[in-house]
């Protein structure tokens, strides 16, 4: 009998708190490193999580990042109770952004967040309802490329 072993962690993302931007992704990165996931995978998870974290911070006024690490893959779920995305197809297009000007001036809001998340993960799912919030799930297989 094999035990389906996994480790779970959960982190809150505060809305609009740029000082703490990236804290959840940094924690998840550390967690993956402690468990011994290969460096290139850790990096992809960290980049994907960071993009998602920034989205929640900018658009949704806060949310939660859940990470579950299995021996052969990692699942990251980011959910919020923000305004929701009216047209997901449009939002998935590179360069599409609804970020306000002040956010763009800070170097964010290039409309690459969702496309980047999809690019760096092996499986990507997005669910969103207007007025209820958005939930993004990314899966990363632990198959390492050469460094």
């Amino acid at each position: 009998m094999t035990e389906a072993k996994s480790v779970k962690m959960s982190y809150d993302v505060a809305g609009g708190d740029f000082d703490r931007a990236g804290e959840a992704s940094a924690n998840i990165k550390r967690m993956l490193q402690k468990i011994g996931i290969p460096a290139d995978i850790v990096r992809r998870v960290a980049i994907g999580t960071y993009e998602a974290e920034m989205n929640v911070l900018i658009h949704a006024g806060g949310g939660t990042v859940n990470a579950e690490i299995f021996t052969d893959h990692t699942v990251i779920n980011i959910s919020d109770h923000g305004p929701g995305i009216p047209d997901i197809k449009l939002a998935m297009q590179e360069g599409w952004s609804t970020a306000p000007d002040y956010i763009r001036q800070m170097g964010f809001g290039a409309g690459m967040g969702l496309p980047n998340m999809m690019k760096c993960s092996d499986k990507f799912d997005i669910q969103s309802k207007i007025g209820e919030g958005t939930s993004i799930t990314m899966e990363f297989n632990h198959i390492s490329e050469d460094l």
């Binding site: 072993k5 996994s6 480790v7 962690m9 990236g22 992704s25 940094a26 990165k29 550390r30 967690m31 490193q33 402690k34 468990i35 011994g36 460096a39 290139d40 850790v42 990096r43 960290a46 980049i47 960071y50 690490i69 021996t71 170097g107 460094l147």
Partner: protein, 461 residues
């Protein structure tokens, strides 16, 4: 993991008071205080020298070769870096300082700054031809930063520019040149670096970036400073060599490398904490628009090294004044200025000598992933039971690190003084309970609630 690590920082037990200042300052959590004394975890140490800089009791020493060792060689070449010249006021010309070095017994002097110019051009080329890979590219010249990348940011190895550190390139060049010119055997020639920091020394003993170092040893600037000062005082003739332009010399201080490479869209990051921070950001892809990042572990650049003698701000001033003087006599164009000093025939190209940087993992809790997961869960449990003050009284830098040490069987929960106090209280209560239960027999003593004897026959002995 069986590979041993050779380090160039050494703790002096007699001087250490176990104050945990170094423990808290270490960027890789490589120090613990056990039984009142600081101890190094060799697999984690990157030889940055931060502990040396911070220790209030001078209980951390950098390993350095001694000047006397040059007697063992027939012909000695010394490689002074810009940080050596920065130790002296600009009124003392470089040629006079070189005269001082000759006087100390070195047969030949070659400025590391000259090599820096060759390396600058190699880096500029690499940046120009870099296509499609992740940005920014990262500087290769500070060995402590390279080791930090190996242990904490292995995912960034591909972004490190694969060229030789200037001092290694210089050593390869001067040794080969001297062997041919003088017909000497390699073993008869001593090539000595005057080091501002311990990380260069560690790199000679156990190199991370060069296949086979041609350096014989590194003598700390602080080791030679006093002798050199006296020697300069009695110098009758200065020594002329082919010196670098201001660009090579500028490498000694932060921003100098960027200037010599001629990269505008770059960052100059110095101080190990800042370097750590920026590498973390690069790792999360937060700086894709930056072309190049110059990193030095020491605050201020190499002039801020822990094995220097002069205050780093004074050294920075000294270097700036020297650069200004040099600029008066050189072409204003960067490449033209550098070309004037780049007259070394057959100066080595990095390609053939460079060693591929390899990850040095130290983060994972166990080689077995299942075991690592179990340990991680236990670690989080332990962490939640700790006070979270990161006071360092247990000898670990943070509650996080203590939790990890406990899970790894290297510490116990009562190393935490808060935990210890709680256990003592519990134990004391238990003892009191126990004491109350002692059966009263004959005239034996009894205790009241305060634990004091209230028996009459106290004076029975």
């Amino acid at each position: 993991m069986a590979e041993g690590y050779i380090h160039s920082v050494r703790f002096v037990r007699e001087k250490c008071r176990g104050c945990v200042t170094c423990v808290k300052a270490c960027p890789t959590d490589a120090i613990r205080v056990r039984n009142g004394k600081a101890e190094l975890i060799p697999a984690r140490c990157i030889d940055c020298g931060e502990c040396m800089q911070r220790c209030p009791y001078h209980a951390v020493e950098g390993v350095s070769d001694k000047l006397e060792q040059i007697k063992d060689y027939q012909y000695n070449i010394v490689l002074p870096p810009p940080s050596l010249y920065a130790q002296f006021p600009a009124e003392i010309s470089e040629d006079v300082i070189r005269g001082g070095l000759s006087h100390l017994g070195f047969d030949e002097i070659f400025d590391v700054a000259v090599a820096s110019e060759y390396i600058s051009l190699e880096i500029a080329d690499y940046i120009k031809n870099y296509n499609g890979g992740r940005k920014p590219l990262i500087s290769c010249t500070c060995p402590a930063v390279l080791r930090l990348i190996q242990v904490k940011f292995p995912e960034l190895i591909k972004q490190v520019v694969p060229v030789l550190p200037p001092v290694e390139a210089a050593a390869i060049y001067v040794k080969q040149e001297a062997m041919e010119r003088l017909g000497l055997d390699a073993s008869q020639i001593g090539v000595w670096f005057l080091a501002p920091c311990p990380s260069k020394d560690a790199n000679i003993r156990q190199s991370v970036d060069v296949v086979h170092t041609q350096l014989t040893g590194s003598i700390a600037i602080s080791e030679i400073y006093g002798k050199l000062m006296r020697s300069i005082g009695s110098v009758k003739e200065s020594k002329k060599i082919t010196a670098s332009s201001s660009y090579g010399m500028g490498w000694g201080s932060y921003g100098g490398e960027l200037a010599a490479i001629g990269v505008k869209n770059g960052l100059a990051v110095h101080g190990i904490e800042n370097v750590y921070d920026v590498l973390e950001q690069i790792s999360m892809n937060k700086m894709p628009d930056v072309d190049y990042v110059e990193c030095s572990a020491c605050s201020g650049g190499c002039i801020g090294g822990p094995l220097t003698a002069e205050n780093k701000f004074v050294a920075e001033k000294n270097l700036k004044l020297r650069l200004a003087k040099m600029r008066e006599h050189e072409p204003s164009d960067r490449l033209e200025a550098m070309a004037e000093s780049m007259t070394c025939e057959g100066f080595p190209k990095s390609g053939a000598y460079i060693k591929k940087l390899v990850p040095r993992p130290m983060m994972q809790l166990d080689d077995d992933i299942m075991e690592a997961m179990k340990k991680f869960e236990r670690m989080e449990e332990v962490l939640n039971s700790l006070p979270g003050l990161d006071c360092g009284a247990c000898g670990a830098p943070s509650c996080q690190c203590l939790a990890e040490d406990i899970v790894q069987g290297k510490a116990t929960e009562i190393d935490c003084i808060f935990k210890l106090r709680a256990s003592v209280k519990k134990l004391a209560q238990g003892m009191l309970e126990l004491a109350k239960q002692i059966p009263i027999s004959g005239g034996s003593m009894d205790l009241n609630d305060d634990g004091e004897e209230k028996d009459a026959d106290k004076g029975s002995n």
